[in-house]
């Protein structure tokens, strides 16, 4: 019994050693020291750092691969052409006002806050309108937001609209003490579709990511193999870093193919860009508006009242890039449909009207910004208030055209015009200055 004990201990020890050897490649301490020395020579700032001694030659193999990858990516970056489709320009929402700055308003909320000042001309004269949009979620969630909260932060914003050329009405002779707001508007935009990029896109992304990392694994394994067999680790590592293949073979005793699969990396890059673009390229959401006062800013007499609008809006951009070649051009469609409830001052009955719009947008990316042209048709129809159609601005259709030009990053100027196609409505022209990033934020 006693004579068997040492044999059993030796057997257990041998098993432990062999299981460890299976988990770790055979690597003498001396070889490990050589790999650490090569690592320190290759990247001096890594000397004695980051637990490299836990598996030195494996760490060195990864480091060598990343140096090779970094060089390849820098080359790819230098040769990249074209631009991604920029995110939809997000301005404070002037939708539904006479200064509406796009043919069909979208419901993409502002990231933090956005502002617009618009000068507008109608049959009633000239006026100016200001809009400030604030994303309420951003003010209340911490930087360590969960993914769910992060999505929520992109769902909604609130816009306040006020005329800036004269906030209050002139007191009338009948009620000289009464000073009420000429016009006041509020708008809520809710976007439910901000982060969806589609299953097909994600399947492609995941497949490319998997292919990419498996290729990386094979390369790192090949590098580690020669590092553990070469007679001079430092010379081999130096040759692998920047030497030609003949030099690698001479220094390492075997050839190693360190070429990065640039075509595969390009496919991965394109798949990721496509996912990002699709996340930004479409919206579907709710548009809620409340207006009090005269929303025509004097273009139509006796149109003071309260107006409530609830509708759905959706939009989608196409193009901008293919797998083969990024392109600065893209096109898009925008649709909205809703119901407006209106109650004119001094009129007993309220009016319900259907409000709809459809438009096309044409976008050209210019550097990091975009030039956008939108054209569309909007209309409002009601069955019950023929006599009040002009005051209510119903039973009409207008054609809208808008051009938005970037000024600087996040800032743009828009010129918009609307022409009546049917009904008794005023043509309009407006010039808007948009600040899409009122409060840019950097995380530290």
């Amino acid at each position: 019994m006693t004579s068997r004990l040492p044999v059993a201990l030796v057997t257990v020890a041998a098993l432990l050693v062999s299981s460890h050897a299976a988990a770790q490649p055979p690597q003498t301490t001396e070889r490990g020291q050589q790999c650490l020395a090569a690592l320190a020579a290759l990247v001096p700032e890594r000397a004695n750092g980051a637990n490299d001694e836990r598996d030195p030659c494996f760490a060195l193999a990864n480091q060598l691969f990343d140096l090779s990858m970094g060089s390849a990516e820098k080359r790819a970056e230098a040769s990249m052409t074209g631009a991604d489709v920029a995110r939809r320009g997000i301005a404070a929402g002037l939708a539904g006002t006479v200064a509406q700055s796009s043919a069909v308003p979208a419901v993409m909320p502002a990231g933090v806050a956005a502002g617009t000042i618009a000068a507008v001309g109608t049959n009633g004269g000239q006026d100016a309108l200001a809009a400030i949009s604030i994303n309420p979620a951003v003010w209340f969630i911490a930087d360590t937001a969960t993914r769910a909260l992060a999505k929520a932060s992109r769902v909604a914003d609130v816009t306040l609209l006020i005329p800036v050329s004269g906030i209050t009405m002139t007191p009338s002779d009948e009620a000289p003490e009464a000073k009420s707001l000429r016009y006041f508007g509020a708008r809520v935009r809710l976007n439910f579709h901000g982060l969806s990029a589609g299953d097909a896109v994600w399947t492609t992304v995941r497949n490319e990511l998997r292919r990419d990392i498996e290729r990386q694994g094979q390369s790192v394994e090949a590098i580690e193999r020669v590092l553990t067999t070469t007679s001079d680790v430092t010379a081999c590592a130096t040759a692998l870093h920047d030497g030609p293949s003949a030099e690698v073979e001479e220094a390492c005793g075997a050839s190693v193919d360190l070429r990065v699969d640039e075509l595969g990396r390009q496919r991965l890059r394109n798949a990721l860009a496509q996912a990002r673009r699709l996340a930004d390229a479409k919206y579907f959401g709710l548009d809620l508006r409340f207006d009090s006062g005269d929303p025509t800013l004097g273009a139509v007499a006796d149109s003071r009242g309260t107006y409530l609008f609830a509708g759905l809006a959706m939009g989608r951009r196409f193009g901008g890039a293919t797998d083969a070649a990024p392109s600065p051009n893209s096109t898009g469609v925008q649709l909205r449909l809703g119901v407006r409830h209106a109650k004119l001052d001094g009129v007993a009955a309220a009016d319900f009207a259907v409000d709809a719009g459809a438009g096309l947008e044409f976008v050209r990316s210019v550097g990091d910004d975009e030039v956008t042209v939108t054209a569309g048709v909007e209309g409002r129809w009601s069955r019950d208030a023929e006599a009040l159609a002009e005051r209510l601005q119903t039973n009409m259709a207008v054609a809208r055209l808008s051009l938005s030009l970037p000024l600087t990053a996040g800032h743009a100027v828009s010129v918009s015009t609307s022409l009546p196609l049917s009904g008794d409505v005023s043509p309009t022209m407006s010039v808007s200055f948009n600040w899409a990033l009122l409060l840019p934020g950097k995380r530290q």
């Binding site: 460890h20 988990a23 770790q24 990247v43 980051a50 637990n51 490299d52 836990r54 598996d55 494996f58 760490a59 193999a61 990864n62 990343d66 970094g70 990516e73 790819a76 970056e77 991604d84 920029a86 995110r87 990231g111 933090v112 951003v138 930087d143 360590t144 937001a145 993914r147 992060a150 932060s153 992109r154 990029a197 994600w202 992304v205 995941r206 990511l209 998997r210 990392i213 498996e214 990386q216 694994g217 094979q218 790192v220 394994e221 580690e224 990721l272 860009a273 996912a275 990002r276 673009r277 996340a279 930004d280 990091d368 996040g410 409060l439 840019p440 934020g441 950097k442 995380r443 530290q444």
Partner: protein, 110 residues
Amino acid sequence: MSVVFKGTIGTGTVSATFSSDYSNRDADSLTAQYVSIPGPGSEVDATVIVPGGAGTVRVSAPRRGRVVVAVETGHSDESGRLVVCLNDVEQDAGVVEGWTEWSYAAVEEQ
């Protein structure tokens, strides 16, 4: 484009969180990849993060292998904060700008 080898890391669940700066103009992508060395065995995760938002990706790295965490921004001057954790314990954190890859050699505890 920045490719940085961050060193060795233990085995387990590697998670990465990217908090996009509010001033970024378009969405950013965050990916995590793991491959067992020697193979076979790999796992990937990816998400898209809109400006001002944050997202997390996770991969399980149960054996010796390579882990890559990458942020791709739409524009080279866009930035955010990247935090990498192993089993929910922070390993690396920092502000990154443009396309950034952090790689790790996943090593089993000895």
